[in-house]
Structures are given as C-alpha cells and as structure tokens.
Amino acid sequence: MFLHLRLRPTLLAITLAATLTTLPTHADTLRIAIMGEPASLDPHKISGKWENDVVGDLFEGLVTEAADGERIPGVAESWEISEDGTVYTFHLREDARWSDGEPVTAEDFVFAFRRILDPATAADYAYLLYPVRNAEAIYTGAAEPHTLGIEALDARTLQITLERSTPYFLDQLSHYTAYPVPKHVVEEHGDRWSRAGNMVSNGPFKLQRWQSQTRIEVIPNEHFHAADDIALDEVVYFPIEERNTALNRFRAGEIDVAREFPTEQYAWLRDNLPDATHTAPFLGIYYYVFNSRDGHPTADPSVREALSLAVRREVISEQILGTGEEPAYSFVPPGVGHYDPAQLAFADMSQEERMARAQELMAEAGYGPDNPLELRLRYNTSEDHRKVAIAIAAMWKPLGVEVDLFNSEVAVHYADLRQGDFDVARAGWIGDYNDAQNFLSLLESGVANNYGAYSNEEFDALMREAAETQDLDRRGEIMADAEQVALDDSATLPINYYVSRNLVNPALQGWENNIEDIHRSRWISFED
C-alpha cells in the first residue's frame, strides 16, 4: 500500500499531463485538505482552526512559528521587554515586504491592532488582544482608539504597552489576530481587500486564487524575507468537511496532507499507511460539564466525584476512540509551558477501589437502588460524541444512574448549555495559546464559557493571584494549586486530552508534529 501511495502521484501526473493541461503538473505543489471552507482570509474576520492553515501561510506576525511550533522571530528581528513586563519594543526587519513590494512598517501593525479592536470590524476574536492597554475599553467605546497601547516609534520600531504583565503575550503575537494588515490595500479596497486579486500579504505565500468551497491556491511571495528558502512552487488547500473524503482523496494521491482523519479508520491506517499516519498530543481537553446550579443533582460535589470515579477513561481512550487520546486526569492538558498540571486525587486508585468509593459516595448522597439518580446527558450530534456518551452511560449504570441521552445539533446544544438546561453535557476546549490560564479561566466564576456555573472563591482568588505574578514558574505553581482546588471539587469531568490526527505523504520533509498542530508550508519540501 505504501509503495502504491508513493507511485500514485507520479502516475497521476503522467495521466493528467497526457489528458489535460489545465491542472498544474509540476511536482512541487503541496496539496492540503483543510477541514472546512474558511470564513474569510481576512485575519480579523476568522476564529476557526482551519483558517489558520491558510492565513498563517499568507501572513507573518512579529513572532512566528518554526517547523516544530516553537516561536521564532518573524517580522520583528529583535525586541526588548521592560522590567515590569508591560512594555515591548520591537525592531522590525529591514527586508519585511508586502507581496506588492511595499515595506511592512510599524504603522501597518498599529493600523491592524486598531482595526481588529474597532467594533465596526465585528471581529469575533478581538478579545484575544485585550492584554494590550486600553484594548477592552476601546472595544466597548469607553476610550478613544488612539489611546490603544501600540505605537510606531518610527517605520521600523514598534512599541506595545500592556494593561499588565502578560507572560504568554509573546506567543500570542504569532496568532492571526496579531498579524499586520496592509494599510494601503485595506484603505483602497475596503472589505473586499481579502479577495484574490486584491489581497496583499506579508507571509511566505501570496493568494493566487480562491474558488469558494473547492480550492484556494497560493504561490510563494517573492518579496518574503526568506523567499529563497521556500522549496514549494505552489500550495493548494482543499476545504473538505467529510473526513472520509479526505482519507479517500489522500489514498488516491489527490492530496498530500489531510489535516484530520476519521477516528474509526485509525486501526486500518496504522496497518496500511503507517508512515503517513501521524497522531500527536494536542492542546485540548474533552470533558463533561457538570451543572453546579442549585436544583441539579450535580450541584452536590460528592455526586460529581462519584460520577467521575466511575468513568473508565482508559476504556474510552483505547476501545471507544482508540486514536491515542491520553486519558485525562487533569483539566489542563500536559505539555503546557511553565506548568505542571495537577491531578485528580483518585488517579492512582485501581478501578475496583474507584467503584467502591463511588458506591459509597452515592449512598451518602442518598441515591441507591430504590432512589436511582436520573440524569440528562446532553451531547452535540457527532459519531465520536455519541460513542463516548453511550459508553459513559453504561459505566454509570452500576451506580444505579439512569441516563437520558439527549443529542442536538451544535447551535441548539450550546444555546441550551448557556441557559443551563442540562445536568451533564459534553464540551471541549482547544487552547487559544499555550498557557494554562486559557484553560483554567473556563472555571472562574461568571465567565461566559463556564457552562456549569462552577464557582469557588478559593479558586478565583488563586487565579487572581496568578494573574498578578511576574515569575513564570511561580505563576505556574499558583495556577496548579487552583487547578487542584477545582479537581478536588470535581468541577468538571475530564475525559481525555485531544490528539491531532494528520495524514502526511511520506515523501514530504519538514513536517514535525507539535502540540499546537501548527504546520507552516514554508518549512515543507518534497524529498528529491
């Protein structure tokens, strides 16, 4: 099969060359299946994961990602950070150019930051820049746009001032919310600047063609500062929502990279395409929310703990999903910088001990064979969510829990979660950036994404303390203490940590698995 796969592209190229001339036939076209049609190619109008694959090849932030996801200098070649961690001074590289040859200036960054925070832009993700001084106030209209903490000291020097020291800010600058946008082009074309033909970008590639719902073509940007190092002649992104379609197209040699494959095909892939199948830990947590509001049985921490104890996470990871998801005994996934995750107290207990303890807790809470606990478990419709929900309902059965499984499509699911209309509900979180705070903030009192309305003063106080702490390691320790508090409370039911699943043509070089699953095409080449 493997041999087959490697031969196929060449064969395909020969047949194509013989029969038609409309397809690009040169070998160094990288063809990537992304998981959906981008909402936009304007970095300020997107909030999804797959948009990042395209937009991250088109643009470059002050900081950017290496092949392994590590942060390296991007448009900024160097920077200084003030003692108190609130003032960043960036020196932009001299050879930073837009794809039309214009220089990328500090002013482009100022323009971009102001634009994303302008309510008229209606950017979903504007809040990611709230660490910047006055950003939130400007968004809500409480401050003038020019008071934003970003300033062009000269064309090549940019100063960003933060509200308070934010240890993960440098990482965040590689995110698409912090990309520069070309002031001269946006002013000329308005909202239509991100269309093919109008768009000018500063990254390794530039937009050639965008045919919605079927393909996006980009070619190297000859003005890019490292243009000489780019091995590819073209990158084509195919939006493919059906994971099985992506797999089939990969097998037929029509694409080189599939950014996701169906979990249920993992066993087959491991046997037949072992060199192409990549799974790696990914910065995300799959968990169940407990509704902590009064009137729900899950408001009782011991019921929550019993339910959590009864879930055999290893069975779910290995038998139900089986794509190398690690069973989760913490809320923050492993691999987060400057952070050593806390752990559920029962992680070391055997399954028998856990069940015994769970039985005890349920009895104490007043539930038993004659007074069974009735729960409504909600999940949004999807094969994997369904399988996990069925398995967990079966695992709770020995506790005498009667589960009413309730699925709905995603909009209804989350609308009802916001209303608090559930006992237990499926949820997931993928880190916006590599920092524990991004996960733990979901459990702070009154936060929008805290669907279960979990509230613990001790936890909140620790999180506030961490926010004020400069030293990264100390800050990590405080957050770990906070996480321990939440885990001891069984605030949520962590099930497993996400993994990234990619199919990658073995002939490609420069693909490195990493926890954020970021793979920029500039590092990729075909082996000769």
Partner: protein, 308 residues
C-alpha cells in the same frame, strides 16, 4: 395560454411573500443563534456582533429590514462566509449545481424512461424483473452509501477517476457525482414510467387504437407514451428543483462547490441571511418548475386546460 402564464407568474408574488414570512419567523423562533458554538464570546463582543447584523432588534423589525433590502435585490452578507454576500455565494455555486444536476436529470430520463417502457411491454417476464430489480437496488441504497462506495471503488481502488474535487467542471470530476446523483432518479423514473405505461396500455382508448388496426409501434409512440409520462412529469417538477440546487451529501463527499450544502449548513450555522437566500431561491424554482409542469401537461394531454 399566455394569459395563464402571466396569471401564474403574478401569483408567485404572494406565494413567495408567504414563504419568506413563514421561513423568517420559523428561523428566528428556533433556538440557537449564529454565535452559539463551542466557544462562547465575551458579552460585549457578542452584543457588538448582534448589533452589526441587526440581530439586537425585535424580530418584526428585522423582518421589515430584511424585506426592505430584498426589494432592492439585496440578500445581505453571509454571517458565516464573511468575504461573500449571499447573492455571490448563490451566483457562484448555482451554475455548478445546475450543470451537475442537468447531466444527472438527462441521464435519468435517457435511461429511466426507455427502461420503464421496456419493462412495461415485457411485463412479468425475466427482462422486466431484471430491469425493475436493478432499479429497486437504486432506490434501496441511499446516496450517502452509494457516493462513498463509488469514490472508494472507482477513485481509490481502480483509480480510474478522481475521488473528489471540481477542477473547473472537468468531465472526469463529474462522472462519479453525476452517476451518484442520478441512480436514484433513474430508479424512480423507470418505476413510474412502467407503472403508468401499464395503466395506459390497459385503458379504453388504447384498446380502441389497437382495434383500429394500428401497429403496436404506432400505438405506443403516438398514443400511449405521452399520457403515460404524466405522473413522471408531475414528479419531476419538484424533483428537478431539488436536483439542480445540489445535494449536500454528494457535494460533501465529492468536494463539489455547489449550493446544496448551504441548505443544510446555513441552517446548522444559523447563517440567517444565507438560509433566507436559499429559501427564496428554492421557492422561486419550485414555483417556476411547477408552472412548467402544468404547461407540459397540456402538451402531453391536449384535453387538459386551465381556462375554467
């Protein structure tokens, strides 16, 4: 006749208005909004987004705003595909769906009708059973099974045809989706043609024609065929509207950039403007095609008139 057509086109206005009104309120009454997803937005961001799309207004006001824009031919921007307006999305996707759909319909008619006639003439013979059995298989296997199967066999295993992609409508990319789209239609048309042909062949006027000593060929071509196509035509009106607006299953499995996906995805994403755009567009097609069907009736059976 012309007067009838004008009358019907005029009737389309109130019909579509009712469709728009009902759909608009149905959509807004349903729970879940365009910004309900795995990631809940901070309150001020959500408030701003709602305001941007006028969603903070009372529904009746939004309705009036929508109608006002519609009168000027403005379907609004898509909430989900932010770089495009609804008009652009439909204008870009519809030709693709239309092209695929017309091929599928042509194939279905060219195969379905002759097969149905043959089966009717050779009724209850081996040939009839083979033809109808095959047609039944086409009905029994849903397209979400046929499509991936075709892709797997002809795309992956045999590698005769591309698994997916549109490639600007190259014929190689069209074969599998057209076949997948038409299999069910062939079956429907063949089954219906057979049934109504049998009905017509047994009727009085055919017996009269035969009694007059006309040849079997003449009887079938000149007398039986047209009336027996009547139910097929009735079925085809709405069916064609469905086929040329694409199928979400076929489009997703073969990566076709048509508009079929919007009918489902726009609703799932609560992309209100796109939902309304597809509803209005589909409504217009239904009205138009059912009008054409009614006109074809009088061609197939000159006795059918609408003037009373």
């Amino acid at each position: 006749m012309l007067l009838y057509v004008f009358k019907r086109l005029f009737q389309a206005i109130p019909t579509l208005l009712i469709v728009i009104t009902l759909s608009f309120f149905l959509m807004h009454l349903a729970p879940g909004g365009p910004f309900d997803g795995e990631r809940q937005l901070p309150a001020e961001i959500e408030a701003n987004l709602l305001a941007t799309y006028n969603l903070d207004q009372p529904v009746w006001k939004q309705y009036l705003i929508y109608l006002g824009n519609l009168l000027q031919g403005d379907f609004g921007p898509s909430f989900r595909y932010k770089d495009f307006t609804v008009t652009e999305l439909i204008a870009e996707g519809f030709p693709v769906s239309l092209e695929l759909g017309l091929w599928a319909i042509a194939l279905a008619l060219l195969l379905g009708i002759p097969l149905g006639i043959v089966a009717a003439l050779r009724r209850n013979t081996g040939l009839d059973y083979v033809v109808m059995g095959t047609a039944l298989a086409g009905v029994a296997i849903p397209n979400f099974v046929i499509a991936p199967l075709l892709a797997l066999v002809f795309g992956v295993m045999l590698a005769w045809l591309p698994v997916g992609g549109w490639n600007d409508g190259h014929w190689r990319n069209m074969v599998l989706p057209v076949v997948a789209l038409s299999i069910q239609q062939i079956a429907y048309i063949a089954r219906m043609t057979r049934a109504s042909m049998i009905e017509v062949l047994g009727s009085h006027f055919i017996r009269t024609a035969r009694a007059k000593g006309l040849s079997e060929r003449e009887v079938i071509w000149h007398h039986a065929l047209r009336p027996s196509l009547l139910p097929v035509v009735s079925y085809l009106g709405p069916a064609i509207a469905g086929i040329i607006t694409g199928s979400v299953v076929i489009e997703q499995i073969f990566g076709i950039p048509g508009i079929g996906r919007y009918f489902v995805q726009a609703a799932l994403n609560r992309d209100y403007t796109l939902v309304m755009g597809t509803v209005v567009f589909y409504g217009m097609l239904i009205v138009l095609l059912n009008l054409i069907v009614d006109l074809i009736y009088s061609v197939l059976d000159p006795q059918i008139r609408y003037d009373d």
